[in-house]
Amino acid sequence: MLDVTRIRQDFPILARRVHGKPLVYLDNAATTQKPRQVIEALVTYYSQHNANIHRGLHALAEEATAAYEGARERAARFLNAQTRGVVFTRNATEAINLFAQAWGRANLKPGDEILLTEMEHHSNLVPWQLVAQATGAQLRFAQITDDGRLEVERVRRVLTPKTKVVAFTLMSNVLGTITPAAELVRLAHAQGALVLVDGAQAVPHMPVDFAALGCDVLVASAHKMLGPTGVGVLAARPDLLESMEPFLGGGEMIADVQLTSATWNEVPWKFEAGTPHIGGVIAFGEALAYLERLGMANVRQHAMDLTRYALERLAAVPGIMLYGPRDVVQRGGAVSFNLEGLHPHDVGTVLDGEGVAVRAGHHCAKPLMRRLGVAATVRASFYLYNTREEVDRLVEALRAAQAFFNRPVRSAA
């Protein structure tokens, strides 16, 4: 169990008022708020230790390097991956692009297939479109069920000996769906395909074990798990990273440089060209420490309790259409819905007026919107500091939106 009252005191922003009302922040799938500990880690880094890493001989450079590499070790432990397999990027998107480009360009050829699902975030779709265009490989898609689940059988149907890589989300940012990842990894490996798991939503909200999943690459974004923006993580098998050519060239990623050629640094540094977001990575380490203290199993339990409560309360709102699985065991805390006759943007505007922050739109998953037959949805997404009272505020605000738009109006037209 999480002590949410105490947790909330760690998040300064939760004391804010918006349009005169206490903030109810339910846009956590977009980015989460940051606890004091993470904000202070940034301040401490810049006020006490700021220096470039891996190259100075002075005390500050050593401190900064130790803290940065310490965050890498913590990230590896958090994901149960090897430290040498953890690469810091700008975000999950860059991590996917890194693998798609660095591995894909060298290993894909015309006739090969890249297997994705219908519910991918644009981040796990467009990078593959780019490598497909560059290599002549074909994109294939596993279909989801009408209630937004990914069945193993449907993936099996489109997986062939031509499939060279399978990339899918572990938790949908729109529907909350948790995919049967470990089983999909086994299937894909049996066909000789590599697997990238998009953990941008799953890693913040449930225990994710890279080794147990058995996938080849796992990506996540720090800002969706209490950390700062500008930091992403790619966890991969070190031998896979070693077999890949670099993604970006520059400082830090080299061993030796001649005028017309260069050799590469060891992994993971081979994939970290240029000065990284040092302070951000260190603060990300604090975010991971915060999550470790709470325990990811507890974070997951809280999400299930709150999602169950939210689904129950939302289902009772007249004229609501809920998307995604109803069983909280099969889903996380991103809940998408629409209100009959109302456009999500209009709903979002009224909710904002009530101090309730949600996302309204296509959630960077336009193909999924088409699959659901909608242009957009309203999405409320919860995190470890959200409460049942906040779910109640959401439901009240939705009813207020309905009353507002369904009010009798003087006929003018």
Partner: protein, 152 residues
């Protein structure tokens, strides 16, 4: 905030949104304009008859939020009977209204005046602007096809 919401979604706007007299297609239309906002998925298609350089019947179809759909309805109503030149002035007036600039006194906005409240919601201006951007583009296309058609 509630005051501002009332300003944004005035009765006139909700009325046009829910029960527009201009929804549909204009029979025998010679003018067609389309607007699409990929960011929010809003779509608008205007059709209109034109005679002697003036808009006759103007109709629209499409889907989207209350602001985009109500604007399309009000804009259709205002276009009827206007010359291309008057339409240009109306469009300039709407852009000025969104920027909070003073309007040319001679332009009658009719119900479109109700859109003044949108200015306080910067992210929603594009919802309203979809209509006049579509019409502006439609007129340019018309102009171009005429120019091409009259080439010897």
């Amino acid at each position: 905030m509630l005051d501002q919401l009332d300003e944004l979604y005035r009765d006139v706007i909700l009325d046009h949104f829910k029960a527009s007299a201009h929804r549909g297609e204009a029979p025998g239309a010679s003018f067609r304009a389309e607007g699409h906002n990929p960011l929010c998925g809003d779509d608008l298609t205007f059709t209109a008859t034109m005679k002697d350089g003036r808009f006759g019947q103007v109709r629209f179809t499409g889907k989207g939020c209350a602001i985009s759909q109500a604007t399309a309805s009000m804009f259709s109503a205002q276009l009827e009977g206007k010359t291309v030149e008057q339409t240009g002035r109306l469009i300039r007036a709407m852009k000025a209204l969104m920027q909070g600039e003073t309007l040319e006194a001679s332009v009658d906005l009719g119900d479109l005046e109700a859109l003044a409240g949108v200015r306080k919601f910067p992210v929603r201006i594009k919802c309203a602007a979809l209509s006049w951007n579509a019409i502006e583009q439609g007129l340019q296309n018309l102009h171009q096809s005429r120019a091409e058609g009259s080439r010897p």
